[in-house]
C-alpha cells in the first residue's frame, strides 16, 4: 500500500516539473505554496509519536511557508504587474528534460549515502534533492527577478525537508527563527524588487548589468 506521505513526495517531484514548465508566475507561486504545505506536513506524517508542540510548530510552518510567503509573492506580482517569464535563458521544453534528468540524478546520489535509521521514506532524500536543485536551476535559468525569488524559496523548501526528516536534533525554536530569517529575507528582496521595477521599469535581471569589470 502506498502511504500518504509517499504520495505527497511523488507530488513534490511533479511540482518541480510543473514549475520548470510554467511561464506564468502565478502558477509558480502556487507550486511554491503547495511545496510549503507539503514540506511542513511530511515530517509530521513521518513521526509516529506526535507531541502538541510539534503539531503547533508544524502548523506555524505551514502557515508561513504555505500561505504568508506565497501571499507576499502574489502581492509583489500585483504590485509590479508582471505575469509571465518571457524568453527564459533555458527554454521550457529543455527545462522539463533537465527536470527529468534531475530526478534520476537525485535517486542516484541518494543511493550513495548511508542514512541514519530514521522513519523517513526512501523517497524523501530524492525528493529533497530534486526540490533543492530545482530551485537552484530556476535561479540560473530565468531572467525575471521575481522568478529568482521563487527559486530561492524552492531551494529553502528542499533544505527544510532534509533538516526535518533526517536530523534528529530537531529544535522547534531554532527552526522557527530560521524561517523568520527567510521571511524577512523575502520581504527585503521584495522591497529591492519593487525599487528595481520603479527605477528600471522592468524586473528583468539582464538590465542589471551596469556593474561589471
Amino acid at each position: 500500500m502506498i502511504s500518504p506521505y509517499d504520495t505527497i513526495l511523488m507530488l513534490l517531484f511533479l511540482s518541480v516539473l510543473l514549475a520548470f514548465a510554467s511561464s506564468r508566475i502565478l502558477t509558480m507561486i502556487k507550486v511554491i505554496s503547495f511545496q510549503g504545505v507539503a514540506v511542513s506536513i511530511v515530517p509530521i506524517l513521518q513521526n509516529s509519536d506526535l507531541s502538541t508542540s510539534s503539531l503547533v510548530f508544524g502548523s506555524i510552518m505551514l502557515t508561513i511557508r504555505g500561505i504568508v510567503i506565497p501571499g507576499l509573492l502574489v502581492f509583489a506580482v500585483r504590485k509590479i504587474s508582471i505575469k509571465r517569464e518571457v524568453e527564459p535563458l533555458i527554454g521550457y521544453h529543455f527545462s522539463i528534460f533537465v527536470g527529468l534528468l534531475l530526478i534520476g540524478f537525485s535517486f542516484f546520489i541518494s543511493s550513495k549515502f548511508q542514512f541514519p535509521d530514521s522513519q523517513a521514506s526512501l523517497l524523501t532524500m530524492p525528493a529533497a534533492i530534486t526540490v533543492f536543485v530545482g530551485g537552484l536551476f530556476l535561479l540560473m535559468a530565468r531572467h525575471k527577478a521575481i522568478t529568482m525569488l521563487i527559486g530561492y524559496m524552492m531551494l529553502e523548501n528542499g533544505i527544510y525537508i532534509i533538516g526535518a526528516s533526517f536530523s534528529r536534533h530537531k529544535h522547534h525554536v531554532v527552526e522557527f527563527v530560521i524561517l523568520l530569517d527567510v521571511l524577512v529575507g523575502i520581504m527585503i528582496m521584495g522591497i529591492v524588487l519593487y525599487n528595481i521595477k520603479r527605477t528600471f521599469d522592468d524586473i528583468d535581471t539582464t538590465l542589471l548589468r551596469k556593474l561589471k569589470d
Binding site: 527563527v177 528582496m189 528595481i196
Partner: protein, 475 residues
C-alpha cells in the same frame, strides 16, 4: 551576560528611528564606545551566556568580537564627520541599519551553536542590505539585489552543509550538543562521508559571504556601492565573521582526521581568489572596486594560510586582524576621496598629495600597509604565511601566491600613484576636519603597534583559536 553585546546595539538601533537625526548620529558613536567597552569586559572576564544552550564564547569568536567592536567604534566616529558632508535622504535608516548590522555581527561571534551561527550570518546579510540600497541609484539597486540574492543562496547552501554535519552525528548514533566545540570533541566518531559533504557545502556557503572566488561576484559591487563607512565594516568586519564559520568547521575536520581534504580545498579556493583579484586589479577604473578586489585577495591569502596549517595558520589569524584594520582605514579614506571629487572613477581624481594632504597620508599609508610593506602588520603576517608554506614544503602554492601578489602590488601601485600625483581638471573641495582623518590614522597606528607589542592575552587567544590547524608551535 554575554548577550549584552548584541542587546545594546539592538535597542539603540530601534530607538534611533524615533529620535532626531543628529541625536541618532551621536548615539551611534556612543553605542560604538559602549560596545567596545563591553567587548573588552567580555575579553577579560569571559562570562557565561544567559542562554547557554545557544551562545558560548570561543577563542576565535572572542578575537573577532574584539576586532569588530573596535572597528565599529572607530567607524562610528568617522560617521560623525562623514554624515555632516554627505546628505543622506534617509539617515535614520542608515544609522539604524548600522547598529542592527553590529548586533548581528556580534551575535555571529558569540554563537557557537552551528545553527544559531547560521542564523546570525543570515541576519548580517539582511541588516546590511539597506546600507547598500539606501542611495536608490541604479547602481546601488543592482548591487543590493546581487548582494542579497547571491548571499542568501550561498548561505542557504551553508545551512544545508550544517544539516549534513548534524546528520553525520546521527548516522553513527553519537549524542552531543550542536556546538562547534562539541563537534570537534566527538569528531573522530562522526560519519566521514556526511562530514565531508557538509564541509564542502559550508565552505561554499560561508565562502560566498567571505568573498572567496568564484562566489565573490557580489563583493565588488556591494563594497563599491555602499556608503564608505558601511564598506569599511563590510570589508573589515563582516568577512571575518563569515571566515569564523569556515575556521571552526576546518577545526572539526582536522579533529576527524580529514584535515588534508579540508586543507587542499581551502588552498584551492584561496589561490583562485588571489588569482581572480590579480587579474581584475590590473585593469580597474573605480577605486572602491579596486579596494574590494584587494579584500578578495586578502581573504584568499587567509584561506591559503589556514589551508597550509601550522605556522602559516598563525599567520592567517594575524593577517585577519591586520587586514581588517588597514582595509577599513582605506575604505574610510576612499570616503573622503568620494566626498572631495564626487566620483568613484580613478580618472576623475588626481593630485591628492597637494590638495588633500591628510587624506593622501592616510590613503598612502593604507596602500603601503595593504601591499605588505613594513612597518605595517601585513608585512609580518604574509612573511609568516610564506615561511609556513616553506616549512610544510608547499612550494607550488608559495610560488603561485608570490607571483600573484607581485601583480597585485603593481596594479595597486599604478592606480594609487595616479590618484595621488597626476594632474586633474576636476575641481575638488573638501575641508579635512579631524574626524575625517583621525579614525584612519588610529586604525593604521594600531596595526603598527600590534607588530611591535602584542599583548600576551592576544597572542594566547590567537594560538587557541586554531588549535586544530595551527597545532603545537615550536617555542
Amino acid at each position: 551576560m554575554l548577550e549584552i553585546i548584541l542587546i545594546g546595539p539592538l535597542i539603540v538601533g530601534i530607538s534611533i528611528f524615533l529620535l532626531p537625526i543628529r541625536t541618532g548620529r551621536y548615539l551611534m558613536a556612543a553605542t560604538g564606545v559602549w560596545n567596545l567597552g563591553v567587548a573588552i569586559y567580555i575579553w577579560r572576564v569571559q562570562p557565561r551566556a544567559f542562554l547557554d544552550q545557544y551562545f558560548r564564547l570561543s577563542p576565535e569568536g572572542l578575537l573577532v568580537l574584539l576586532l569588530t567592536s573596535f572597528l565599529f567604534a572607530v567607524v562610528s566616529f568617522y560617521c560623525l564627520g562623514y554624515l555632516e558632508h554627505e546628505k543622506l535622504s534617509k539617515e535614520r535608516f542608515f544609522n539604524g541599519s548600522m547598529l542592527f548590522f553590529l548586533a548581528a555581527m556580534c551575535m555571529a561571534t558569540i554563537a557557537d551553536h552551528v545553527i544559531i551561527f547560521w542564523i546570525a550570518i543570515e541576519t548580517t546579510t539582511l541588516a546590511s542590505a539597506p546600507l547598500i540600497l539606501f542611495n536608490r541609484t541604479k547602481g546601488s539597486l543592482e548591487a543590493a539585489w546581487k548582494y542579497i540574492l547571491i548571499c542568501s543562496v550561498g548561505i542557504a547552501l551553508a545551512l544545508l552543509g550544517t544539516l549534513l554535519m548534524t546528520i553525520s552525528m546521527d548516522a553513527v548514533d553519537v549524542e552531543s550538543s550542536l556546538f562547534f566545540s562539541e563537534f570537534a570533541k566527538v569528531a573522530g566518531q562522526l560519519d566521514k562521508t556526511w562530514l565531508k559533504a557538509g564541509f564542502v557545502f559550508i565552505l561554499v556557503g560561508y565562502g560566498t559571504k567571505m568573498g572567496l572566488a568564484p562566489m565573490h561576484t557580489w563583493l565588488p559591487d556591494a563594497h563599491s556601492e555602499a556608503a564608505s563607512p558601511a564598506s569599511a565594516l563590510l570589508s573589515g568586519a563582516l568577512l571575518n565573521c563569515a571566515y569564523l564559520g569556515i575556521l571552526k568547521t576546518t577545526n572539526i575536520l582536522e579533529a576527524a582526521q580529514l584535515g588534508d581534504f579540508a586543507r587542499n580545498v581551502l588552498i584551492g579556493f584561496g589561490l583562485l581568489s588571489v588569482f581572480v583579484s590579480a587579474t581584475f586589479i590590473m585593469k580597474q577604473t573605480d577605486y572602491k572596486r579596486l579596494l574590494a578586489y584587494s579584500s578578495i585577495e586578502n581573504m584568499g591569502i587567509i584561506a591559503i594560510g589556514t589551508g597550509v596549517g601550522g605556522f602559516a595558520a598563525y599567520g592567517a589569524m594575524l593577517h585577519l586582524i591586520h587586514h581588517s584594520l588597514i582595509k577599513s582605514s582605506l575604505f574610510l579614506s576612499s570616503g573622503n576621496i568620494l566626498l572631495a571629487y564626487g566620483s568613484k572613477l580613478i580618472d576623475q581624481t588626481g593630485n591628492m598629495a597637494r590638495q588633500f594632504p591628510k587624506t593622501f597620508f592616510c590613503f598612502m599609508g593604507g596602500f603601503v600597509g595593504i601591499v605588505g610593506f613594513p612597518p605595517f602588520g601585513i608585512f609580518f603576517s604574509e612573511l609568516i604565511i610564506i615561511l609556513g608554506a616553506f616549512q610544510k614544503g608547499r612550494y607550488f602554492v608559495l610560488a603561485a601566491l608570490l607571483c600573484f601578489l607581485l601583480f597585485i602590488s603593481a596594479g595597486l601601485a599604478k592606480y594609487v600613484i595616479s590618484m595621488s600625483f597626476s594632474q586633474t581638471e576636476n575641481t575638488a573641495c573638501l575641508v579635512e576636519k579631524p574626524l575625517l582623518y583621525v579614525p584612519q590614522m588610529i586604525l593604521l597606528l594600531v596595526s603598527i603597534i600590534l607588530c611591535f607589542w602584542m599583548p600576551e592575552s592576544l597572542s594566547r587567544v590567537i594560538i587557541q583559536s586554531g588549535t586544530g590547524i595551527i597545532g603545537v608551535l615550536n617555542g
